[in-house]
């Protein structure tokens, strides 16, 4: 398995049994779970020797690269002192904060369960479940401040919840009642990008704006393993590196892009892709909320301090289907699911809290009640969402009045007025 013996170690702070890791990076690779069991096919990638031509020393032009060397992070350093560094980055996380993380993980899973149920009941058209990815989303979202800005794909419901998106409105888009479920400026988070990877470029441009504004914040772009094959993601890496802008590329490698295992996308661990762009790459156990929090804090601080872009590969697993329209039993084995169930991100933190005596029955009950409350709001908000009026079709196509839109709106309304029984 040399192709998957990662050169970048995987950061893990809590193991699947809820035990804090004492000696650094995890054995997740050696347990053989990382890559779903499809052998890479016959195309040989090797045999071309890298030549001795050095690319070095040409200055990047245009926007000044702020004098911080991209090599500042030296990811290799993680092996020796890195784990201590990451542990220190979450040293402030005591029992109370741990319980908060636990609560958010449980709430986010409950949102997912409720939304899936609402889809099965015909109340929303489609849902993209995040089941299994709660820690990657909650851990990274907890590293963000209000000054930061988020560019999500369509599965980041957990991030949206942590950013303050209103659960009552969260299903608007999925119900087909509105084109989006939140107002970007209210929660510092763009609307979901459904064309995968497009948002990595938006994030890079936004980060350039932050740099030009001297804003001090950072941008985080979420995307999946499938999106890493998109040209836009490669272009985003290129532009972000060229401009040295404060953007964290957060890849949730959930192992599957609908039916395609990650090996269809890449012959190297995705975190290693960064090196070719001159960007530091980190890999983290995406089901370890504490490690995700630490690694994302590190990356954001680095970015905010002028260190430029950074890529995080969070290894996780999509426990559910790609969307409610998908049937994963057609392409993956129950055994694989069982392997990942043993690394459940919520079990892990609950076990940690129990081990450390930080979760009594009352506290556990409060978490359940919080989740029920949010699920209730989600359901009620969904069921109470009014259907949009027909003329909403024409709203916000342009900022200014537009003659064609105006005429077509009038024509539709005139047509509807002729229909018997049409309710206005």
């Amino acid at each position: 398995m040399s192709q998957f013996s990662a050169a970048i170690p995987l950061v893990q702070l809590v193991d699947p049994t809820g035990k804090r890791v004492s000696d650094g990076t995890s054995g997740i690779e050696t347990s053989g779970i990382e890559a779903p069991g499809i052998e890479t096919s016959g195309i040989e990638t090797s045999g071309i020797e890298t030549s001795g031509i050095e690319t070095s020393g040409i200055e990047t032009s245009g926007i000044e690269t702020s004098g911080i060397e991209t090599s500042g992070i030296e990811t290799s350093g993680i092996e020796t002192s890195g784990i201590e560094m990451f542990r220190a980055l979450v040293a402030d996380v005591g029992p109370e904060k741990l319980r908060e993380l636990y609560r958010d993980l449980v709430v986010v899973r409950r949102i997912d369960t409720e939304a899936t149920a609402l889809q099965r009941q015909g109340q929303v058209g489609l849902w993209a479940p995040l089941l299994g990815q709660e820690a990657a989303q909650v851990g990274s979202a907890h590293a963000l401040t209000e000054a930061d800005y988020v560019f999500p794909s369509y599965r980041e419901h957990g991030v949206a919840y942590c950013r303050g998106a209103d659960p009552q409105a969260l299903l608007r888009q999925w119900r087909g009642s509105a084109p989006s479920s939140w107002t970007p400026s209210e929660i510092g988070m763009a609307v979901p990008a459904i064309v995968v990877g497009a948002q990595a470029l938006h994030a890079t441009g936004y980060a350039l704006g932050m740099k030009l504004d001297d804003a001090g914040g950072a941008v985080i772009a979420y995307f999946g393993d499938g999106a890493t094959s998109q040209g836009d993601v490669a272009e985003a890496f290129t532009f972000a590196a060229s401009w040295q802008v404060p953007v964290v590329f957060f890849c949730q490698n959930n192992q599957w892009a609908i039916s395609e295992p990650v090996r269809v996308q890449s012959q190297v661990p995705l975190g290693e892709r960064a090196a070719g762009f001159g960007i530091p790459g980190l890999r983290v156990d995406g089901n370890d909320v504490l490690a995700v929090l630490a690694v994302t804090r590190f990356a954001l601080r680095q970015a905010r301090a002028g260190g430029g872009p950074i890529l995080i590969e969070a290894l996780t697993y999509r426990m559910g289907p790609h969307t409610t329209s998908d049937d994963p039993s057609r392409y993956r084995s129950p055994a694989e699911l069982d392997q990942w169930r043993a690394r459940d991100p919520i079990d892990r933190i609950r076990l940690l809290l129990e081990r450390e005596g930080a979760l009594d029955d009352g506290q556990a009950g409060a978490v359940t009640r919080a989740a029920d409350e949010v699920a209730g709001a989600l359901r009620a908000g969904c069921l109470q969402t009014p259907d949009p009026a027909p003329e909403d079709l024409f709203e916000h196509v342009y900022t200014d009045p537009h003659p064609l839109i105006h005429q077509q709106r009038a024509a539709l309304l005139a047509h509807l007025a002729t229909l018997e029984g049409h309710q206005r």
Partner: protein, 327 residues
Amino acid sequence: MTTMTLSQAINSGLRRALEDDPKVLLLGEDIGRLGGVFRVTAGLQKDFGDRRVIDTPLAESGIVGTAIGLAMRGYRPVCEIQFDGFVYPAFDQIVSQVAKLHYRTRGHVRMPLTIRIPFGGGIGAVEHHSESPESYFAHTAGLRVVSCSNSAEAYLMIQQAIASDDPVLFFEPKRRYWDKSEVDENIGLDSWPLHQARILRTGTDATVVAYGPLIATALAAATVAEQEGNSLEIIDLRSISPIDFDTIETSVRKTGRLVVAHEAPVSFGPGAELAARITERCFYHLHAPVLRVGGYDTPYPPAKLEEFYLPGVDRILDAVDQTLVEP
């Protein structure tokens, strides 16, 4: 009044936009130190710095995609796509993102981008350097699509495009970059609406509508027609989306004949849209079918063939003559 080439006029318009609004940024390939392959941005990086006139990596999707992020951050980016045939890598970002983000966010996110594209043929270029892709974008809701035909229009319209809170695709007639004409540099941005057509020459026998590089051709055709005793009304469409049908309709009600000329292939082109709409609006005033003169439905040809591909004075006059034949 100052005499300047069309490319200098765009340069002056960009300069004024950079001066007037600190949020205006230029992004593109080779636009900085080189001043663009057509020198449209010459001197701007020197005067405004490399934080406002930015040489990007060579990736069109990247240029437009990062401009979207800048717009979300409150900037007013002006992207240069180096040549018409290079815009397609940015197609998703333009059509799925730029065009729809205002709609997708229920009006909360504006996309005040300008995407400048030198377009059209006639310069003897190699493939992918002479195309007219405006129809792709005019077909997409959320975008505005315009083209300038002379220096004064270029100076005014580029500033209006940049000032627009909607995204504007700004098509520059590259074979007219070096044509000189008068520009009033003190002209106000509200002197003529961006999306209103302009009657350049009044006439009574037939209306010829064109835009961008074919305006000079249409005007030349009108001069020849006059010698033949035919009076042509020449209208510069200026805006391909939205189209100012009112001006065209008024003209056609008068002349009863319409010829539309553009370099883009005729099938599904702007001429098709004009023919349909004008037929709807003034069917009973038409004395002849609306005719289109345009590029053929072939790929843009090698340079030695482009004189046959591009609509010239003779092809426009042939069409005019066809509309004038009494049944």
